[in-house]
Symmetry: C2
Subunit: 277 residues, 2 copies
Protein backbone atom coordinates (compact mmCIF):
# COMPACT_ATOMS: atom_id res chain seq x y z
CA UNK A 1 0.00 0.00 0.00
CA UNK A 2 1.26 3.45 -0.95
CA UNK A 3 1.25 6.13 1.73
CA UNK A 4 0.88 9.46 -0.08
CA UNK A 5 1.45 12.67 1.84
CA UNK A 6 1.22 15.39 -0.80
CA UNK A 7 -1.30 16.49 -3.39
CA UNK A 8 1.31 16.00 -6.10
CA UNK A 9 1.96 12.41 -5.00
CA UNK A 10 -1.77 11.62 -5.17
CA UNK A 11 -2.11 13.12 -8.65
CA UNK A 12 0.84 11.06 -9.87
CA UNK A 13 -0.59 7.88 -8.34
CA UNK A 14 -4.05 8.66 -9.77
CA UNK A 15 -2.79 9.07 -13.32
CA UNK A 16 -2.19 5.32 -13.69
CA UNK A 17 -4.69 3.91 -11.20
CA UNK A 18 -7.66 3.17 -13.49
CA UNK A 19 -11.12 3.22 -11.85
CA UNK A 20 -10.67 4.56 -8.32
CA UNK A 21 -12.89 4.52 -5.25
CA UNK A 22 -12.25 7.06 -2.48
CA UNK A 23 -13.09 6.55 1.18
CA UNK A 24 -12.76 9.92 2.93
CA UNK A 25 -12.12 9.56 6.68
CA UNK A 26 -10.98 11.55 9.70
CA UNK A 27 -8.77 8.70 10.94
CA UNK A 28 -9.30 6.61 14.11
CA UNK A 29 -10.51 3.90 11.76
CA UNK A 30 -12.84 1.09 12.81
CA UNK A 31 -14.87 -1.73 11.22
CA UNK A 32 -17.33 0.81 9.81
CA UNK A 33 -14.54 2.36 7.74
CA UNK A 34 -13.27 -1.11 6.83
CA UNK A 35 -16.68 -1.94 5.33
CA UNK A 36 -16.42 1.19 3.15
CA UNK A 37 -12.94 0.13 2.02
CA UNK A 38 -14.11 -3.41 1.25
CA UNK A 39 -16.88 -2.04 -0.93
CA UNK A 40 -14.58 0.45 -2.67
CA UNK A 41 -12.24 -2.43 -3.53
CA UNK A 42 -15.07 -4.58 -4.90
CA UNK A 43 -16.39 -1.81 -7.16
CA UNK A 44 -13.15 -0.23 -8.45
CA UNK A 45 -9.70 -1.16 -9.66
CA UNK A 46 -8.15 0.58 -6.66
CA UNK A 47 -9.31 2.03 -3.33
CA UNK A 48 -7.69 5.08 -1.77
CA UNK A 49 -8.46 6.23 1.76
CA UNK A 50 -7.93 9.83 2.82
CA UNK A 51 -7.18 10.52 6.47
CA UNK A 52 -7.65 14.15 7.45
CA UNK A 53 -8.27 14.77 11.13
CA UNK A 54 -10.75 17.47 12.00
CA UNK A 55 -10.74 19.62 15.07
CA UNK A 56 -13.49 17.70 16.83
CA UNK A 57 -12.48 17.72 20.50
CA UNK A 58 -14.47 14.50 21.11
CA UNK A 59 -12.35 12.65 18.61
CA UNK A 60 -9.19 11.03 19.94
CA UNK A 61 -6.05 11.79 18.07
CA UNK A 62 -5.96 9.08 15.49
CA UNK A 63 -3.27 6.47 15.64
CA UNK A 64 -1.76 6.57 12.20
CA UNK A 65 0.03 3.25 12.59
CA UNK A 66 -3.14 1.38 13.56
CA UNK A 67 -5.06 3.09 10.75
CA UNK A 68 -2.47 2.09 8.17
CA UNK A 69 -2.41 -1.51 9.46
CA UNK A 70 -6.20 -1.74 9.09
CA UNK A 71 -6.10 -0.36 5.55
CA UNK A 72 -3.25 -2.65 4.54
CA UNK A 73 -5.10 -5.68 5.96
CA UNK A 74 -8.19 -4.80 3.93
CA UNK A 75 -6.27 -4.27 0.70
CA UNK A 76 -6.49 -0.52 0.11
CA UNK A 77 -4.15 0.52 -2.69
CA UNK A 78 -3.23 3.86 -1.14
CA UNK A 79 -3.67 6.11 1.87
CA UNK A 80 -3.64 9.89 1.46
CA UNK A 81 -2.51 11.59 4.66
CA UNK A 82 -1.86 15.27 4.01
CA UNK A 83 -0.79 17.65 6.72
CA UNK A 84 -3.86 19.61 7.84
CA UNK A 85 -2.25 22.87 6.72
CA UNK A 86 -1.73 21.42 3.21
CA UNK A 87 -5.48 21.70 2.71
CA UNK A 88 -5.87 25.14 4.28
CA UNK A 89 -7.77 27.41 1.85
CA UNK A 90 -5.46 30.41 2.06
CA UNK A 91 -7.90 32.77 0.32
CA UNK A 92 -10.88 31.69 2.39
CA UNK A 93 -12.90 30.06 -0.40
CA UNK A 94 -15.47 27.66 0.97
CA UNK A 95 -18.29 25.50 -0.27
CA UNK A 96 -21.64 26.42 1.26
CA UNK A 97 -24.26 23.68 1.23
CA UNK A 98 -27.89 24.70 0.70
CA UNK A 99 -30.89 24.18 2.98
CA UNK A 100 -29.95 20.53 3.56
CA UNK A 101 -27.26 21.77 5.94
CA UNK A 102 -29.50 24.02 8.04
CA UNK A 103 -31.31 21.71 10.51
CA UNK A 104 -30.00 18.99 12.84
CA UNK A 105 -26.18 18.83 12.86
CA UNK A 106 -26.06 22.08 10.86
CA UNK A 107 -27.93 23.84 13.67
CA UNK A 108 -26.06 22.03 16.45
CA UNK A 109 -22.56 22.52 15.05
CA UNK A 110 -22.40 25.83 13.17
CA UNK A 111 -19.82 25.79 10.39
CA UNK A 112 -19.23 22.06 10.63
CA UNK A 113 -20.99 21.13 7.40
CA UNK A 114 -19.37 24.02 5.52
CA UNK A 115 -15.99 22.63 6.59
CA UNK A 116 -17.06 19.13 5.55
CA UNK A 117 -18.30 20.39 2.17
CA UNK A 118 -15.14 22.38 1.47
CA UNK A 119 -12.89 19.48 2.47
CA UNK A 120 -14.73 16.94 0.32
CA UNK A 121 -14.59 19.21 -2.75
CA UNK A 122 -10.83 19.48 -2.18
CA UNK A 123 -10.47 15.70 -1.84
CA UNK A 124 -12.60 15.00 -4.92
CA UNK A 125 -10.54 17.57 -6.83
CA UNK A 126 -7.27 15.99 -5.76
CA UNK A 127 -8.18 12.31 -6.11
CA UNK A 128 -10.75 12.55 -8.95
CA UNK A 129 -12.32 9.24 -7.95
CA UNK A 130 -15.05 7.55 -9.96
CA UNK A 131 -16.93 6.68 -6.78
CA UNK A 132 -16.69 7.86 -3.17
CA UNK A 133 -18.08 6.02 -0.16
CA UNK A 134 -19.71 7.56 2.91
CA UNK A 135 -21.43 5.86 5.83
CA UNK A 136 -25.10 6.29 6.68
CA UNK A 137 -24.33 7.09 10.33
CA UNK A 138 -23.47 10.68 9.42
CA UNK A 139 -26.64 10.88 7.38
CA UNK A 140 -26.86 14.64 6.93
CA UNK A 141 -23.19 14.75 5.95
CA UNK A 142 -23.83 12.01 3.38
CA UNK A 143 -26.79 13.92 1.94
CA UNK A 144 -24.87 17.21 1.85
CA UNK A 145 -22.04 15.50 -0.02
CA UNK A 146 -24.40 13.80 -2.48
CA UNK A 147 -26.14 17.15 -3.05
CA UNK A 148 -22.95 19.13 -3.61
CA UNK A 149 -21.53 16.52 -6.00
CA UNK A 150 -24.70 16.86 -8.09
CA UNK A 151 -25.04 20.64 -7.71
CA UNK A 152 -21.41 21.30 -8.67
CA UNK A 153 -21.58 18.70 -11.47
CA UNK A 154 -18.60 16.80 -10.10
CA UNK A 155 -17.75 13.62 -11.97
CA UNK A 156 -17.78 11.47 -8.82
CA UNK A 157 -20.83 9.50 -7.67
CA UNK A 158 -21.32 9.37 -3.89
CA UNK A 159 -22.31 5.96 -2.53
CA UNK A 160 -24.07 5.77 0.83
CA UNK A 161 -23.21 2.62 2.82
CA UNK A 162 -25.15 1.11 5.75
CA UNK A 163 -24.08 1.86 9.29
CA UNK A 164 -22.00 -0.88 10.91
CA UNK A 165 -23.10 -1.70 14.50
CA UNK A 166 -21.68 -3.60 17.43
CA UNK A 167 -23.66 -6.61 18.76
CA UNK A 168 -25.68 -4.33 21.09
CA UNK A 169 -26.80 -2.26 18.10
CA UNK A 170 -24.58 0.74 18.93
CA UNK A 171 -23.41 2.42 15.73
CA UNK A 172 -19.63 2.16 15.39
CA UNK A 173 -17.94 5.51 15.92
CA UNK A 174 -14.45 6.66 16.74
CA UNK A 175 -16.05 8.39 19.71
CA UNK A 176 -17.26 5.16 21.33
CA UNK A 177 -13.83 4.48 22.85
CA UNK A 178 -14.48 7.35 25.28
CA UNK A 179 -17.57 5.60 26.74
CA UNK A 180 -17.38 3.72 30.04
CA UNK A 181 -18.88 0.23 30.07
CA UNK A 182 -22.04 1.51 31.79
CA UNK A 183 -22.36 4.38 29.30
CA UNK A 184 -21.95 1.91 26.45
CA UNK A 185 -24.88 -0.12 27.78
CA UNK A 186 -26.98 3.03 27.99
CA UNK A 187 -25.89 4.11 24.53
CA UNK A 188 -27.42 1.00 22.99
CA UNK A 189 -30.80 2.60 23.79
CA UNK A 190 -30.20 4.97 20.86
CA UNK A 191 -30.34 2.23 18.25
CA UNK A 192 -33.12 0.42 20.12
CA UNK A 193 -35.22 3.59 20.00
CA UNK A 194 -34.64 3.83 16.25
CA UNK A 195 -35.51 0.13 15.84
CA UNK A 196 -38.75 0.68 17.74
CA UNK A 197 -39.63 3.38 15.23
CA UNK A 198 -38.71 1.09 12.32
CA UNK A 199 -40.85 -1.75 13.63
CA UNK A 200 -43.77 0.58 14.37
CA UNK A 201 -43.52 2.07 10.84
CA UNK A 202 -43.55 -1.40 9.32
CA UNK A 203 -46.61 -2.23 11.44
CA UNK A 204 -48.46 0.81 10.03
CA UNK A 205 -47.55 3.67 12.39
CA UNK A 206 -46.85 6.58 10.03
CA UNK A 207 -47.48 9.66 12.21
CA UNK A 208 -44.30 11.71 12.48
CA UNK A 209 -45.02 12.89 16.04
CA UNK A 210 -45.77 9.37 17.22
CA UNK A 211 -42.55 8.08 15.64
CA UNK A 212 -40.52 10.76 17.39
CA UNK A 213 -42.30 9.98 20.70
CA UNK A 214 -41.50 6.28 20.40
CA UNK A 215 -37.79 7.06 20.15
CA UNK A 216 -37.88 9.55 23.03
CA UNK A 217 -39.70 7.05 25.28
CA UNK A 218 -37.04 4.40 24.76
CA UNK A 219 -34.33 6.94 25.56
CA UNK A 220 -36.12 8.12 28.70
CA UNK A 221 -36.27 4.58 30.07
CA UNK A 222 -32.49 4.66 30.14
CA UNK A 223 -32.31 8.14 31.56
CA UNK A 224 -31.05 9.62 28.29
CA UNK A 225 -32.15 13.06 27.12
CA UNK A 226 -31.83 13.51 23.40
CA UNK A 227 -30.44 16.77 22.05
CA UNK A 228 -32.88 16.25 19.21
CA UNK A 229 -35.08 13.50 17.85
CA UNK A 230 -36.04 14.27 14.28
CA UNK A 231 -38.43 12.71 11.81
CA UNK A 232 -37.58 14.43 8.54
CA UNK A 233 -37.89 14.00 4.82
CA UNK A 234 -34.80 11.94 3.86
CA UNK A 235 -34.24 13.96 0.67
CA UNK A 236 -34.71 17.53 1.94
CA UNK A 237 -34.20 16.97 5.72
CA UNK A 238 -37.21 19.19 6.41
CA UNK A 239 -39.04 18.14 9.59
CA UNK A 240 -42.29 16.26 8.92
CA UNK A 241 -45.67 16.21 10.64
CA UNK A 242 -48.73 14.03 10.14
CA UNK A 243 -48.57 10.74 8.22
CA UNK A 244 -45.30 10.09 6.36
CA UNK A 245 -44.53 7.89 3.37
CA UNK A 246 -40.80 8.01 3.87
CA UNK A 247 -38.59 9.51 6.55
CA UNK A 248 -35.22 9.58 8.21
CA UNK A 249 -35.53 9.34 11.97
CA UNK A 250 -32.38 10.73 13.51
CA UNK A 251 -31.12 11.73 16.91
CA UNK A 252 -28.22 13.21 18.83
CA UNK A 253 -27.58 12.56 22.51
CA UNK A 254 -24.87 13.38 24.98
CA UNK A 255 -23.67 10.40 27.03
CA UNK A 256 -21.08 11.39 29.57
CA UNK A 257 -18.55 13.46 27.67
CA UNK A 258 -19.48 11.95 24.32
CA UNK A 259 -22.01 13.25 21.79
CA UNK A 260 -23.44 10.44 19.67
CA UNK A 261 -25.67 10.49 16.60
CA UNK A 262 -27.61 7.74 14.82
CA UNK A 263 -30.47 7.37 12.36
CA UNK A 264 -32.80 4.96 10.59
CA UNK A 265 -34.45 5.20 7.18
CA UNK A 266 -38.16 4.46 6.90
CA UNK A 267 -39.89 3.70 3.60
CA UNK A 268 -36.87 4.33 1.39
CA UNK A 269 -33.67 2.47 0.59
CA UNK A 270 -30.31 4.11 1.15
CA UNK A 271 -29.23 3.29 -2.40
CA UNK A 272 -32.23 5.10 -3.91
CA UNK A 273 -31.65 8.41 -2.13
CA UNK A 274 -29.07 9.99 -4.41
CA UNK A 275 -31.37 9.77 -7.44
CA UNK A 276 -34.05 11.88 -5.73
CA UNK A 277 -33.91 15.66 -5.77
CA UNK B 1 -16.04 22.03 -34.33
CA UNK B 2 -18.26 20.00 -32.01
CA UNK B 3 -21.22 21.78 -30.45
CA UNK B 4 -21.89 20.00 -27.14
CA UNK B 5 -25.12 20.73 -25.29
CA UNK B 6 -25.09 18.31 -22.37
CA UNK B 7 -22.73 17.47 -19.52
CA UNK B 8 -22.60 13.87 -20.71
CA UNK B 9 -21.57 14.94 -24.22
CA UNK B 10 -18.73 17.06 -22.79
CA UNK B 11 -17.48 14.20 -20.60
CA UNK B 12 -17.45 11.86 -23.60
CA UNK B 13 -15.61 14.41 -25.74
CA UNK B 14 -13.15 15.11 -22.90
CA UNK B 15 -12.22 11.46 -22.45
CA UNK B 16 -10.27 11.38 -25.72
CA UNK B 17 -9.26 15.04 -26.08
CA UNK B 18 -5.76 15.01 -24.54
CA UNK B 19 -4.56 18.27 -23.00
CA UNK B 20 -7.50 20.67 -22.96
CA UNK B 21 -7.78 24.43 -22.48
CA UNK B 22 -11.12 25.90 -21.41
CA UNK B 23 -12.31 29.42 -22.20
CA UNK B 24 -15.37 30.11 -20.04
CA UNK B 25 -17.62 32.83 -21.54
CA UNK B 26 -21.10 34.30 -21.24
CA UNK B 27 -21.53 34.50 -25.01
CA UNK B 28 -21.73 37.66 -27.14
CA UNK B 29 -18.15 36.89 -28.14
CA UNK B 30 -15.70 39.50 -29.39
CA UNK B 31 -12.00 39.82 -30.22
CA UNK B 32 -11.15 39.66 -26.49
CA UNK B 33 -12.61 36.17 -26.29
CA UNK B 34 -10.94 35.27 -29.58
CA UNK B 35 -7.55 36.13 -28.06
CA UNK B 36 -8.27 33.72 -25.18
CA UNK B 37 -9.22 31.00 -27.66
CA UNK B 38 -6.07 31.59 -29.72
CA UNK B 39 -3.94 31.20 -26.61
CA UNK B 40 -5.83 28.10 -25.45
CA UNK B 41 -5.18 26.52 -28.85
CA UNK B 42 -1.47 27.36 -28.74
CA UNK B 43 -0.98 25.87 -25.27
CA UNK B 44 -3.17 22.74 -25.47
CA UNK B 45 -4.14 19.92 -27.81
CA UNK B 46 -7.71 21.20 -27.94
CA UNK B 47 -9.63 24.32 -26.88
CA UNK B 48 -13.21 24.18 -25.65
CA UNK B 49 -15.29 27.30 -25.10
CA UNK B 50 -18.25 27.30 -22.73
CA UNK B 51 -21.09 29.71 -23.39
CA UNK B 52 -23.40 30.19 -20.43
CA UNK B 53 -25.39 33.42 -20.44
CA UNK B 54 -25.83 35.10 -17.10
CA UNK B 55 -28.73 37.27 -16.05
CA UNK B 56 -26.89 40.51 -16.52
CA UNK B 57 -29.50 42.92 -17.88
CA UNK B 58 -26.78 45.02 -19.56
CA UNK B 59 -25.69 42.08 -21.64
CA UNK B 60 -27.45 41.63 -24.96
CA UNK B 61 -28.84 38.20 -25.60
CA UNK B 62 -25.95 36.49 -27.27
CA UNK B 63 -26.18 35.51 -30.87
CA UNK B 64 -25.33 31.85 -30.85
CA UNK B 65 -24.77 31.67 -34.58
CA UNK B 66 -22.27 34.56 -34.59
CA UNK B 67 -20.52 33.10 -31.52
CA UNK B 68 -20.14 29.70 -33.16
CA UNK B 69 -18.85 31.27 -36.39
CA UNK B 70 -16.18 33.17 -34.46
CA UNK B 71 -15.10 30.03 -32.57
CA UNK B 72 -15.02 27.96 -35.76
CA UNK B 73 -12.93 30.62 -37.52
CA UNK B 74 -10.41 30.61 -34.66
CA UNK B 75 -10.14 26.82 -34.55
CA UNK B 76 -11.79 25.88 -31.26
CA UNK B 77 -12.31 22.13 -31.05
CA UNK B 78 -15.61 22.34 -29.20
CA UNK B 79 -18.25 24.69 -27.83
CA UNK B 80 -20.19 23.75 -24.70
CA UNK B 81 -23.60 25.43 -24.66
CA UNK B 82 -25.73 23.96 -21.89
CA UNK B 83 -29.23 25.16 -21.17
CA UNK B 84 -29.07 27.49 -18.16
CA UNK B 85 -31.28 25.16 -16.15
CA UNK B 86 -28.88 22.26 -16.80
CA UNK B 87 -26.44 23.97 -14.43
CA UNK B 88 -29.01 24.94 -11.79
CA UNK B 89 -27.81 23.71 -8.37
CA UNK B 90 -31.06 22.10 -7.25
CA UNK B 91 -29.94 21.71 -3.63
CA UNK B 92 -28.63 25.26 -3.36
CA UNK B 93 -24.94 24.39 -2.95
CA UNK B 94 -22.72 27.33 -3.82
CA UNK B 95 -19.08 28.28 -3.73
CA UNK B 96 -18.37 31.28 -1.52
CA UNK B 97 -15.16 33.15 -2.30
CA UNK B 98 -13.21 34.62 0.60
CA UNK B 99 -12.31 38.25 1.31
CA UNK B 100 -11.14 38.76 -2.29
CA UNK B 101 -14.79 38.95 -3.29
CA UNK B 102 -15.83 41.57 -0.73
CA UNK B 103 -14.73 44.96 -2.16
CA UNK B 104 -15.27 46.50 -5.61
CA UNK B 105 -17.55 44.39 -7.81
CA UNK B 106 -18.40 42.20 -4.81
CA UNK B 107 -19.76 45.25 -3.01
CA UNK B 108 -21.41 46.72 -6.11
CA UNK B 109 -23.07 43.52 -7.30
CA UNK B 110 -24.03 41.40 -4.27
CA UNK B 111 -24.11 37.70 -5.07
CA UNK B 112 -22.47 38.12 -8.47
CA UNK B 113 -19.09 36.67 -7.54
CA UNK B 114 -20.71 33.78 -5.65
CA UNK B 115 -22.60 32.94 -8.85
CA UNK B 116 -19.38 33.26 -10.86
CA UNK B 117 -17.49 31.02 -8.41
CA UNK B 118 -20.18 28.37 -8.35
CA UNK B 119 -20.47 28.35 -12.14
CA UNK B 120 -16.73 28.05 -12.71
CA UNK B 121 -16.43 25.13 -10.26
CA UNK B 122 -19.21 23.42 -12.21
CA UNK B 123 -17.47 24.06 -15.53
CA UNK B 124 -14.09 22.90 -14.24
CA UNK B 125 -15.79 19.78 -12.85
CA UNK B 126 -17.49 19.04 -16.15
CA UNK B 127 -14.64 19.85 -18.55
CA UNK B 128 -11.66 18.97 -16.31
CA UNK B 129 -9.34 21.19 -18.37
CA UNK B 130 -5.61 21.38 -17.79
CA UNK B 131 -5.68 25.15 -18.20
CA UNK B 132 -8.46 27.74 -18.19
CA UNK B 133 -8.19 31.27 -19.61
CA UNK B 134 -9.75 34.42 -18.18
CA UNK B 135 -9.31 38.01 -19.27
CA UNK B 136 -7.74 40.72 -17.14
CA UNK B 137 -10.66 43.10 -17.74
CA UNK B 138 -12.74 41.32 -15.09
CA UNK B 139 -9.78 41.44 -12.76
CA UNK B 140 -11.52 40.63 -9.50
CA UNK B 141 -13.31 37.74 -11.17
CA UNK B 142 -9.96 36.45 -12.46
CA UNK B 143 -8.44 36.67 -8.99
CA UNK B 144 -11.45 35.00 -7.34
CA UNK B 145 -11.22 32.14 -9.83
CA UNK B 146 -7.45 31.77 -9.37
CA UNK B 147 -7.97 31.77 -5.59
CA UNK B 148 -10.75 29.19 -5.59
CA UNK B 149 -8.84 26.88 -7.92
CA UNK B 150 -5.96 26.94 -5.45
CA UNK B 151 -8.11 26.84 -2.29
CA UNK B 152 -10.18 23.91 -3.51
CA UNK B 153 -7.08 22.14 -4.88
CA UNK B 154 -8.59 21.86 -8.36
CA UNK B 155 -6.29 20.35 -10.96
CA UNK B 156 -6.76 23.24 -13.41
CA UNK B 157 -4.39 26.22 -13.60
CA UNK B 158 -6.07 29.55 -14.29
CA UNK B 159 -4.27 31.74 -16.83
CA UNK B 160 -4.90 35.49 -16.79
CA UNK B 161 -4.72 37.10 -20.24
CA UNK B 162 -4.25 40.80 -21.09
CA UNK B 163 -7.27 42.94 -21.87
CA UNK B 164 -7.89 43.50 -25.57
CA UNK B 165 -8.69 47.13 -26.45
CA UNK B 166 -10.09 48.98 -29.42
CA UNK B 167 -7.88 51.65 -31.09
CA UNK B 168 -9.22 54.33 -28.68
CA UNK B 169 -8.09 52.22 -25.71
CA UNK B 170 -11.59 51.16 -24.68
CA UNK B 171 -11.53 47.65 -23.23
CA UNK B 172 -13.53 45.28 -25.41
CA UNK B 173 -16.75 44.21 -23.73
CA UNK B 174 -20.01 42.70 -24.88
CA UNK B 175 -21.62 45.73 -23.28
CA UNK B 176 -19.93 48.24 -25.61
CA UNK B 177 -22.49 47.61 -28.35
CA UNK B 178 -25.05 49.48 -26.24
CA UNK B 179 -22.94 52.70 -26.30
CA UNK B 180 -23.80 55.57 -28.66
CA UNK B 181 -20.92 56.99 -30.67
CA UNK B 182 -20.63 59.97 -28.32
CA UNK B 183 -20.66 57.70 -25.27
CA UNK B 184 -17.98 55.55 -26.85
CA UNK B 185 -15.76 58.61 -27.22
CA UNK B 186 -16.35 59.49 -23.56
CA UNK B 187 -15.74 55.88 -22.50
CA UNK B 188 -12.21 56.02 -23.83
CA UNK B 189 -11.47 58.33 -20.90
CA UNK B 190 -11.58 55.26 -18.63
CA UNK B 191 -8.52 53.66 -20.19
CA UNK B 192 -6.80 57.03 -20.57
CA UNK B 193 -7.23 57.62 -16.83
CA UNK B 194 -5.67 54.25 -16.12
CA UNK B 195 -2.84 54.97 -18.53
CA UNK B 196 -2.16 58.28 -16.75
CA UNK B 197 -1.77 56.31 -13.54
CA UNK B 198 0.54 53.81 -15.24
CA UNK B 199 2.76 56.54 -16.66
CA UNK B 200 2.83 58.42 -13.36
CA UNK B 201 3.76 55.23 -11.48
CA UNK B 202 6.58 54.54 -13.95
CA UNK B 203 7.74 58.11 -13.43
CA UNK B 204 7.95 57.56 -9.67
CA UNK B 205 4.49 58.50 -8.36
CA UNK B 206 3.69 55.75 -5.85
CA UNK B 207 1.16 57.37 -3.51
CA UNK B 208 -2.12 55.47 -3.64
CA UNK B 209 -4.29 58.56 -3.10
CA UNK B 210 -2.47 60.48 -5.81
CA UNK B 211 -2.86 57.59 -8.24
CA UNK B 212 -6.60 57.43 -7.57
CA UNK B 213 -6.86 61.21 -7.99
CA UNK B 214 -5.10 61.11 -11.34
CA UNK B 215 -7.68 58.66 -12.67
CA UNK B 216 -10.60 60.65 -11.26
CA UNK B 217 -9.29 63.89 -12.80
CA UNK B 218 -9.16 62.37 -16.26
CA UNK B 219 -12.71 61.08 -15.87
CA UNK B 220 -13.96 64.45 -14.64
CA UNK B 221 -12.60 66.19 -17.73
CA UNK B 222 -15.05 64.09 -19.73
CA UNK B 223 -17.90 64.57 -17.32
CA UNK B 224 -17.74 61.00 -16.11
CA UNK B 225 -18.36 60.16 -12.45
CA UNK B 226 -16.78 56.89 -11.43
CA UNK B 227 -18.75 54.52 -9.23
CA UNK B 228 -15.41 53.70 -7.70
CA UNK B 229 -11.74 54.28 -8.42
CA UNK B 230 -9.63 51.82 -6.47
CA UNK B 231 -5.93 51.44 -5.86
CA UNK B 232 -5.66 48.04 -4.20
CA UNK B 233 -3.20 45.28 -3.53
CA UNK B 234 -3.42 43.07 -6.65
CA UNK B 235 -3.18 39.88 -4.60
CA UNK B 236 -5.61 40.61 -1.76
CA UNK B 237 -7.64 43.46 -3.35
CA UNK B 238 -7.43 45.38 -0.07
CA UNK B 239 -7.44 49.13 -0.65
CA UNK B 240 -4.01 50.74 -0.26
CA UNK B 241 -2.82 54.04 1.16
CA UNK B 242 0.59 55.72 1.17
CA UNK B 243 3.39 54.60 -1.13
CA UNK B 244 2.76 51.35 -3.01
CA UNK B 245 5.14 48.83 -4.53
CA UNK B 246 2.51 47.11 -6.59
CA UNK B 247 -1.16 47.78 -7.17
CA UNK B 248 -4.17 47.21 -9.33
CA UNK B 249 -5.90 50.45 -10.20
CA UNK B 250 -9.48 49.68 -11.14
CA UNK B 251 -12.69 51.55 -11.78
CA UNK B 252 -16.34 51.21 -12.58
CA UNK B 253 -18.40 53.91 -14.28
CA UNK B 254 -21.88 54.24 -15.66
CA UNK B 255 -22.04 55.66 -19.17
CA UNK B 256 -25.61 56.08 -20.35
CA UNK B 257 -27.28 52.77 -19.61
CA UNK B 258 -24.03 50.83 -19.57
CA UNK B 259 -21.83 50.05 -16.59
CA UNK B 260 -18.20 49.59 -17.62
CA UNK B 261 -15.16 48.39 -15.67
CA UNK B 262 -11.47 48.48 -16.43
CA UNK B 263 -8.14 48.19 -14.63
CA UNK B 264 -4.36 48.45 -14.91
CA UNK B 265 -1.62 46.61 -13.05
CA UNK B 266 1.25 48.60 -11.57
CA UNK B 267 4.55 47.05 -10.49
CA UNK B 268 3.52 43.45 -11.12
CA UNK B 269 3.06 41.27 -14.18
CA UNK B 270 -0.27 39.55 -14.81
CA UNK B 271 1.45 36.19 -15.26
CA UNK B 272 3.10 36.40 -11.83
CA UNK B 273 -0.09 36.99 -9.86
CA UNK B 274 -1.34 33.45 -9.46
CA UNK B 275 1.85 32.35 -7.71
CA UNK B 276 1.39 34.92 -4.94
CA UNK B 277 -0.82 34.22 -1.96
Amino acid sequence: MKVLRTVTAVREWRASAGAVGLVPTRGALHAGHAALVDRAIRQNEAAIVSIVADEDPDLRSSSEQADLALLEAHGAAAAFIPAREDLHPAHGTHVTPGTLAEPLEGAARPGHLVAVATRIVQLLGIVAPDLAYCGQKDFQELRVIQALARDLRLATRIIGCPTVRDPSGLALSSRNVALTEAQRTNASALSRGLMEAEHAFEAGETDADDLRSLVRSELEIWGLAAEYVSCADPVTLQELSGPVERAVVSLAAQIGTVRLIDNALLGIRLQDLDELQ
